[in-house]
Structures are given as C-alpha cells and as structure tokens.
Point group: C2
Chain length 256, copies 2
DNA sequence: TCTTTCTGTTCGCTTCTCTCGAACTTCCCT
DNA sequence: AGGGAAGTTCGAGAGAAGCGAACAGAAAGA
C-alpha cells in the first residue's frame, strides 16, 4: 500500500551480484579482473566469468584488460527517461531558462527514495560540473531534493530517511532529522528551496516544485557559482524566472 | 586481438536472463508478471522472483502490478557517457549547430558493433522524434552509422555485418553487402553520408565523420523533415556548418 | 451474496549452475 | 632464463535457481 519495496523472500542472488559488479566498475572508474575480485571479495575466476558474460552481452566494455561500464545502459536509461512525460514537457522550458539566466537549469525527480537528475541544460556562463545527467543523489543534500521531500507525505519522507539516512556531503548538509523537517515546512510554505554549498562547495542553487494537483512530480532549479548567485540576484531575477517556467511545465504536463 | 568479444566458456546464465528480462520490459513498454512469464516462456514464479529482486535493487519500477524499466539505468548510462571525452567536447558545438540550422544535431559513436546516440540537440524548428538519447541502432541504417563504418578497417566492418546482419528498416535501407561497401567507399572518399528516409520515413539526414588521426571516434549529423532538407539546402548550408563543427570538435578532442 | 476466474504470491523439491581453489598459461620485468 | 603477476581454464561440490502445484486476493458476473 505504501509503495515501498517489499523484500523479495527468495532474491535472485546472481542478479544482485551482477549489478554489484557493474556498480563497482562505476565507482572504480573501470577495473581489471583482479581489482574487481579484490574489491568484492570474490574469487578471480568468478569475477572473470561475470565480466566476460557482461562484456559479451554488451553491457560492459573491455580494453587492455580493463573493464568499464558500457553505453548500453544509456539505451535503457534514455528509454526510461523518454517515457517520462515530465521530461518531454520540461525540456523546452529548461532550455529557455538556461538561456535567460546563463546558468545551469536542472530537473530532478524522485525514484526509490533517491533523486535522479532527469535533465540539465547548460547556460552560456555555466561552468562544467562533475555531475552528469541521470546522476542519482540523496534527496536531502540538494535544493531540488528537499523541494521534492517537502511536498511528499510525511510518512513517505520518514520511510525515505529510515532507508537512506542523512549522511553529510559537505559541512553544510542538514544531518538532523528535526532540522530537516523544519526546513521542509519552510520550503512547503514558500514554495522554494535554497542550497548554499550543501552538496558541492562553491555552488549555490534555488529550486521550485513542479506540482500536479497536490502531488509533486519533480523539482526545477537553477544553479551557479556562489560569486554570481547572490541573494539579490536569486530573489530578484532567478526565482521569478523559475516560477514562470515551472508554471508552464505544470500546465503542459496535465494538458494534452 | 581483433577487439571482438570472445564467447565466455561458462556464461553466467542468470545474468543473461536478468538482462533479457529488462530488455523485454523495455520492448513491451512495461509488463505484468504473467505477461513477462508468457513472453519469455519462464514460470510465473520465476518471473515474479526476478522482478521483485530487480525492483528491490532499484532497477525496475512497479506500479499497479506493472513493472517498468527504472531510471536507475540512466545513472549508469549517464556515467558511462560522461566519461566519454567526445561527448564533453562535442556538446557546445552541437548546440551551436542546432541553433544555426534549426534542426536536430546528432552525435553517434560505435560500441559493440552498434551505434549509440551519444547526444542530440534540438533546434527550434525540429519536430519531435520517437527516438531518444542513448538509443542503440544498427549502423547500416543511418547516415551516422554508415559514416562510422566507412572509416573502420574493412575486417571490422565484415565482422560487424557477420554478427548483426543487414536487416531492412524501411524500403530504402541498404541490405546488400556489396552495395553497402560501395556506398562506404563513396562516403570515405567524400567524407559525408546521406540518409534519405532509410531509417525513418520522412526524415533526411547528412553526416560527417569525426576523426582522430586515422581513427574514427564518432559521427555528427543534422536531421530534419524531407520538406525542409532538400539537396540544395543540404549541400549549400548544412554540410559546411557540419564540417566546421566537426573540425572544431576534432581539434578540441586531441588538444588538452 | 456466492461463484468463477483471473491475477500475484508462497512453498518445497529437484536439478542445474554458480562458486571456488588449484593448476595452467601468458606476458612482462629483471 | 627466471620470477612474479596477470588472465584463463577446469572440475568437483554446494548452493541457488527453476519449476509446478497450491494458496490468497481481487475483480467480474450471475
């Protein structure tokens, strides 16, 4: 009833390790057979077997003995994204937003209690970030994520905190449960969230919710370097633009 | 030595079926337990087991008994893409290309003998396509793919044809081996490929290679509706713009 | 309201296959 | 030429996936 995942009583362990291997390749930025074997504490032969299978299936790329995550996942991910109505509707508005502000425009949705960057449009002044489209982040560490949390029913937020915790990303991250709920109440009331270097140092961010009736479908934000994103510019210039974009997206989302 | 995948002698079958399941969910645009069980000819209980496990791991989404491909794959795919130097370098130029032409600008790379759309930038006149970023396509069915094939060593092309065949997509698709090699020779010589409704009806496309020394790293194209993409406009306006963009990308690719 | 008939889900048993360590090979470095 | 470290192959044993039958639960119909 609560939409949360129920533990499978007989999980397919091999499927789990398969993904553990891919995730490890990701976190290591590629690995050799022995490296992987060491990191996951599995025999070399097993690691070898998995990697060869994954490579043969096309999900992993091998060159000079180093195995890496393949672009095949982009096919699955891109497909999943293309089915998301919000993505289709939001893209043109995000483009406009990136153009008028010159900064990054970001779109985030919740899935399985984590935030997924559905899209990112780069403005002409935007500096390259280390983050990428599709990246999965903890909800409490970003303005976007907090905006989503603020409009989710209390029990779901509780469930998410229980499952994922509140680990710190920088010294500014909210790590206290009560403090977080206070922040969320404020965000809900004023319909906007700030992120002052909470996830990435030197980066500020403002986010607004994208609602469909009473439900939140995602959050939209503009982010840029602290130097250019001062309080005044955020409130006077960025926020109005954000709200305008969010409104249009909300309308197009339900319409047609 | 030839970079081709060698068959694993003891493939991890469970990993294979895991991905077969996800791919099936994709091709069916979501499925219930029994639907999946029927399509793959596996017992309901097994299908159930896999789906629950995948859902628990976060790779599949369930709502009202229907399981779908999750956005989690976008995290892996986006990560893989972000590591691709060509992607980073090409994006700004593609943006410019989409703006000046008003059409779609597309970037494709080869992986495992198939073409992957690394990026797509939408111009203001561009009509929405059914295809999505990350989509994997047969190389011989697009101008982009043929461009890549044209600059690949002959034996690799042979290997790719052997593995994937030359199935037709529309009535214009090249399905004959010799005919294809003739076309490739022409493309190699003139450094451009046309696609006249070969993959999608009503859609024309011009592509140019992106080279790094003698090796091809990808292909860049502009595509639009037949009505706007006549021979004259392609040769007079589009092609020069494409070449300019490709040149800049090639330079930035090696430099720094 | 009581059937009927779909789902999805649980439960063991059987069988297949994944696991794992050891042995073999290949390559590089000394 | 020899030592070390990587990848790879192999076979036996343990363990997990496969499978059908039975159960539960919801929806549709009488």
């Amino acid at each position: 009833m609560d939409g949360n995942s129920t533990e499978p009583n007989t999980p397919v362990k091999t499927a789990q390790t398969t993904f553990r291997i891919v995730e490890t390749l990701k976190s290591l930025d590629g690995a050799t057979v022995t490296e992987l074997s060491g990191h996951l504490a599995i025999p070399k032969s097993s690691a070898h077997n998995y990697l060869r299978t994954l490579e043969h299936e096309g999900y992993v790329i091998e060159s000079d003995g180093v195995y890496e995550v393949g672009l095949r996942f982009l096919d699955l991910g891109g497909y999943a994204r293309s089915r998301d109505r919000l993505y289709t509707v939001a893209t043109p508005e995000m483009k406009r937003l990136a153009e008028t502000t010159g900064e990054y425009a970001n779109l985030l949705v919740e899935e399985h209690g984590r935030g997924v960057f559905l899209a990112r449009e780069r403005g002409e002044h935007a500096v390259s970030l280390d983050s990428y489209t599709g990246q999965s982040v903890r909800l409490h560490t970003t303005a976007l994520g907090k905006t989503v949390l603020a409009f989710l029913p209390r029990d779901r937020v509780e469930a998410i905190i229980d499952r994922h915790g509140l680990p710190a990303k920088t010294e500014h991250t909210i790590t206290d449960r009560d403090e977080l709920f206070e922040a969320l109440a404020d965000i809900r009331q004023r319909e906007r969230a700030y992120d002052r270097e909470e996830r990435i140092k030197g980066l500020n961010c403002v986010a607004v919710p994208i609602l469909s009736g009473d439900d939140i479908t995602g959050a939209l934000s503009v982010s840029g370097p602290v130097s250019r994103m001062d309080e005044e510019r955020i409130d006077e210039e960025i926020l109005p633009e954000l709200r305008r974009a969010a409104n249009i997206i909300e309308l197009n989302q339900t319409h047609s």
